[in-house]
Amino acid sequence: MEQRSTGDVGHPLERLYAVAWVPMVRLATLLLGDQSRAEDIVQDAMIALHGRWDALEDPASATAYLRRSVVNGVRSAQRHHVVADRHARAEATDPTRARTTPGADQPALARARHDDLVAALDGLPERQREVLVLRYWADLSEAEIADSLGISAGSVKTHAHRGLAALAARREELS
């Protein structure tokens, strides 16, 4: 729903922006915990993609290319310690976090459980977290996840299995 109207867009990049900007920023924010930095990363990725647009073998591959760039950008930001403390910084800078007041109709218990689960997810090793976010939020196939992360399908299975096992253990502890 939260997509730019595509009615009057011209360049393919603008069409891609219309459909991919919001989900890509959300993906990067889920992985990084810093919305402002996530927007920078996706913006850079789109600008880089524009420069290579003519070299794309298949325009339909633009989304996959962009996603790889975004994931790489996130990993690069993490490697360079741009985000020293993802949680603290996100809480301090992200206005959406400041008003994370879900609807009054949402049971508080489920909300707390979700918060615990996402916190546990944030504590997982990078690869496991990436695989789980790409799988359970972006709803990507195994092949797409492998392509996005530059790893084998077998590794995707392994990271997913370990990540879920860790979350299950964490949930067990909490209950």
């Binding site: 990049l13 913006q43 298949d58 339909a60 996402v118 359970y136 939020w137 879920l164 979350l167 949930r171």
Partner: protein, 388 residues
């Protein structure tokens, strides 16, 4: 949650063997991530991306020849022809982003209409607006009810394009626009004139900001809400008239340190986009538009014409309703559309409407209704036109 999948990849997501606990965990993880993601509302950065990918000087400015032709036709018809309003264009002297990865300034923490007073705020290309889409006009922000005709719906700023005879340099345009903003009031908008009796005596436009000198100090007694909006009214007008983005604006008012109770010792900037709902009215029609539309004037359309309507919205669930109203008050057509993002962020919307074969005068109305009873109107905007 298939929003993110490549259109050419139809394979299913991976599945683990059906351990009930794992399945339950998977479902919960999906819900938790969706909940977290739904709370992330990215700012619009298309302008920044476009500026970084468009060769200098090739911005899609509306061709001058078309503007001239439209103006001639408008004069001939005694009204303004419905035609596209150009997209936001780069300013004549654009301030490029510091780097391609420059961060947006953090949004104001204010949850009220308090003006954003931040000398360190950097100009944002997101705030770049059309400079003069009609030729011979200046942008003027003015205070208006959220829902037209319903002062109880709250107040905010709207923008009008007002014809003005002025030189083209930024200082002249700023002075002309601010002068009009000080005196701006229309019957449609409830006649709110906090700056009554105040004039603009000077404006200095530099790369790092705009200085506006006013005299005398205002004497109107207004509520804090109106006072804050009155200050922002001049800030937004000055920035729009100059066309250099969100540059700081300093107000000097006869030696006063505050106006309407608002401290003016520091320059002002516009708040971040996701806070602009505290300043702007929630619904705007930006296309079609005309220099008289804010005063109930409008344009000319032809029978059977498909009219593209565009605007900005900060409404619940991004739900924008619209109706085409005949001169007798009956509704000829109606519908709804979805903005690019819901409140509190400010998105854009677009829809088309076909002009009926019968009838001579119509009002196009976009509005947002209360979710509680579907009756109360929270925000609206209108555009009137005559059918040939």
């Amino acid at each position: 949650m298939s929003q993110f999948r490549d259109s050419h990849d139809n394979s299913e997501p991976t599945r683990q063997p059906g351990d009930p606990d794992v399945t339950d965990l998977e479902a919960e993880l999906r819900a938790a991530l969706r909940e977290r993601a739904d709370q992330i509302h990215p700012d619009d950065r298309w302008t920044e991306i476009e500026m970084s990918t468009t060769p200098s000087g090739s911005s899609r400015r509306w061709p001058t020849v078309l503007l001239a032709a439209a103006a001639v036709l408008a004069v001939a018809l005694g009204a303004w022809v419905l035609r596209p309003t150009p997209r936001a264009v780069a300013p004549a002297d654009p301030t490029p982003p510091a780097t391609a990865t420059s961060s947006s300034p953090p949004p104001s923490a204010s949850s009220s209409a308090a003006p954003s007073q931040s000398p360190s705020a950097s100009p944002s290309a997101t705030d770049v607006e059309p400079v003069d889409p009609f030729g011979g006009t200046v942008p003027v922000y003015y205070i208006s009810p959220e829902a037209l005709g319903h002062p109880e719906s709250g107040l905010g700023l709207r923008r009008a394009w007002v014809p003005a005879v002025t030189a083209e340099d930024p200082r002249s345009r700023a002075m002309a626009a601010i002068g009009l903003a000080l005196d701006r009031s229309t019957a449609r908008d409830g006649g709110i004139k906090p700056w009554l009796g105040v004039g603009v005596t000077d404006a200095k436009v530099a790369d790092d900001g705009i200085d506006v000198v006013l005299d005398p100090a205002p004497t109107a007694r207004v509520t804090p809400e109106v006072g804050s909006l009155a200050v922002q009214q001049l800030v937004w007008t000055a920035q729009a008239a100059v066309g250099r983005g969100n540059v700081p604006v300093r107000l000097t008012v006869s030696g006063a340190t505050s106006v309407f109770g608002v401290d003016i010792s520091q320059p002002f900037t516009r708040p971040a986009r996701d806070q602009q709902h505290t300043i702007l009215t929630d619904l705007w029609i930006t296309e079609p538009s005309s220099p008289t539309s804010s005063e109930g004037g409008g344009g000319v359309a032809t029978r059977g014409q498909t009219l593209t309507v565009k605007g900005e919205a900060s409404v619940f669930e991004a739900n924008v309703q619209w109706e085409l109203v005949r001169s007798d008050g009956t509704v000829a057509e109606n519908g709804f559309t979805t903005a690019t993002i819901g409140a509190p962020s400010r998105g854009t919307y677009e829809f088309t409407v076909t002009i009926p074969q019968e009838g001579d005068d119509y009002v196009l109305r976009v509005f947002s209704s209360s979710m509680q009873d579907g009756q109360g109107e929270l925000a609206s905007d209108t555009f009137s036109f005559h059918v040939l």
